[in-house]
């Protein structure tokens, strides 16, 4: 595959072959206002000039902001081993295994990634990753429609609003009914969710912990869904699973989530990866690639892409999904992260998040006029009620070098004063204490 642009000579040849007089004529069918205005890019720069500009931009802002923002994407430690191993040329430059069985290293890494995801989520089968958290939730919904042959889903409104938008976008053209269930304060309304499941429901979709940070036991919800022949889809935050019950333990049928928190930097929004795992009996309905372990002619262990009849290069329009690739490199970082920490390290990390967040929660709740809106347990994220519009407060604190949280006003009506604050293991006591001080000042001075 050549990456060199076409020469003027080649362009003339191609235009001649199809009988177009010019590039302009070739694109004349596209309305002018929809075409690119201009391709006039600035002149090239030397490496030295470029590095200077990037350093200036990095120093100008962003780098020094202390983030208390979560809402689906989290600022966690990344062990040096992640960059080092994922940066090895064998992984870094190999895009996709077109001759999969010749790429044993890539396949083994993905197989081990699948194993790690299954152990984390308490499920039995994982694919080799999806694009991101939002598309993972949507793929899970599509999978539930296939498994049950039904045409409706019940969607908890305390699932990440961005992910809900992706789900609605995917389902809009499938004449699938989406029943959104409003939360009760900051808690998922489990009673109403259960009451909304009918014989027509393919799946109930919830998030764990939910968008407001609340943790709930979903065991009864799973039982209720199963009683009606529906599946339970749980979108989960992998770091939290070091402390809270896994989707598998609670009886979920499909566990999905955003994988960024596993070894991937914030990077202004991506690339990240999504994960999806399920019970063994639903494995043929999983989207995307699955790596399997086998033995060769001589009985030696080897890896293959397996159950490919689900995929679009074989099943065409009847494939389980149109996803035909995965986020291998980001998923590999996730695997190295999980393997570096190990079972105990993961539990320790989760506990550290919880304890720091509890410290911060108590400190902020003691500020005059501030209260915690979560009625029950939280993990490393919680929702505060402020005496002022949260977006205003966040804007003011940003000037002091702190990103205080996610104001809910952008996503939920009537929650103008609510702020979701996240405290990961990376936030120091000094940073938490400083935010408490800044909050007090912004609210009362």
């Amino acid at each position: 595959m050549g990456y060199c642009p076409n020469t003027p000579e080649e362009i003339r040849e191609m235009l001649g072959a199809i009988g177009a007089g010019s590039v302009e004529e070739l694109f004349s069918a596209i309305p002018k206002e929809l075409r690119a205005k201009s391709f006039e890019l600035p002149a090239g720069m030397s490496e030295f000039e470029l590095m200077r500009i990037m350093r200036e931009k990095a120093a100008a802002g962003g780098a020094e902001i202390v983030p208390f923002i979560g809402g689906g994407i989290y600022d966690h430690i990344i062990p040096a081993a992640v960059d080092h191993l994922a940066g090895r040329a064998e992984f870094y430059t190999a895009y996709t295994p077109y001759q999969p069985e010749c790429s044993q290293g890539t396949l083994q890494a993905l197989f081990e990634y699948q194993t790690a995801i299954c152990r984390l989520t308490g499920m039995e089968a994982s694919n080799a990753s999806l694009y991101d958290g939002g598309t993972a939730v949507a793929e899970a919904a599509l999978m539930a429609l296939r498994v049950t042959g039904r045409h409706a889903v019940v969607l908890d409104a305390s699932v990440n609003p961005l992910h809900r938008e992706v789900v609605s976008g995917y389902l809009a053209s499938l004449s699938t009914g989406v029943v959104e269930v409003a939360p009760k304060g900051c808690e998922s309304d489990l009673d109403l969710l259960m009451a909304s499941v009918t014989e027509e429901t393919a799946a109930v979709i919830v998030q764990h912990p939910n968008f407001f940070g609340s943790v709930a036991d979903l065991t009864a919800l799973a039982a209720k869904a199963h009683e009606k022949g529906a599946l339970l889809i749980v979108s989960c935050y992998p770091i939290a699973l070091g402390l809270v019950k896994s989707p598998g333990e609670m009886g979920a049928d499909i566990a999905v989530g955003e994988g960024q928190s596993l070894g991937n930097p914030l990077s202004f929004g991506g690339p990240y990866f999504g994960f999806i795992a399920t019970r063994k009996r639903f494995i043929r309905n999983l989207p995307g690639r699955i790596v399997g372990e086998t033995v060769d002619q001589k009985g030696r262990r080897g890896y293959v892409l397996t159950l490919q009849a689900r995929e679009q290069h074989i099943k065409r329009h009847k494939a389980t999904s149109n996803i035909c690739s995965n986020q291998s490199l980001c998923a590999l970082r996730g695997l190295i992260f999980a393997a570096s920490l190990g079972r105990q390290g993961f539990a320790d990390l989760a506990l550290l998040n919880y304890e720091k967040a509890e410290y911060a929660k108590a400190l902020f709740a003691a500020i005059d006029g501030v209260s915690v809106l979560n009625a029950g347990a939280t993990f490393n994220e919680f929702t505060l009620a402020l005496p002022k519009p949260a977006a205003q407060v966040v804007a003011r604190l940003l000037a002091s070098g702190v990103a205080a949280g996610v104001p809910l006003s952008a996503y939920y009506a009537g929650k103008e004063n609510a702020l979701v604050v996240t405290v990961t293991e990376k936030r120091t006591k000094a940073e938490i204490d400083a935010l408490a001080g800044l909050l007090k000042e912004a609210l009362w001075n």
């Binding site: 042959g149 043929r284 009849a309 074989i314 099943k315």
Partner: protein, 124 residues
Amino acid sequence: MSKYFTKEHEWVKIDGSTATVGISEHAAHELGDITFVELPQIGKSVKQFDTLAGIESVKAASDIYAPVSGKVSAVNGKLEDAPELVNESAEDAGWICQMEGFDAAELGALMDAAAYAEYLKGLE
């Protein structure tokens, strides 16, 4: 008891109100080693020639179409663990499912064994 075939190589055996469905010896041979049969859900209603089930072999993944309309009343659970039964005995022990509630008039759109044999000759 009478047996009919479709152009897509399914067979259907009519026994009173029960229609037993499978794929023909010819189809099983063409597919090669069968690795998985996706059985329909009991209670599923299908129209004649709509997708009824799925079958995967080392060579291909194909749909199995309903030779008659009706409701699935039984499936051959043995195929879950032994899909190779379809290769060994496509038109007997390797049956896929049974259906009820079909319309006898639909059988007119199918071929009997002799006509199917002729049809296969035409494909060669």
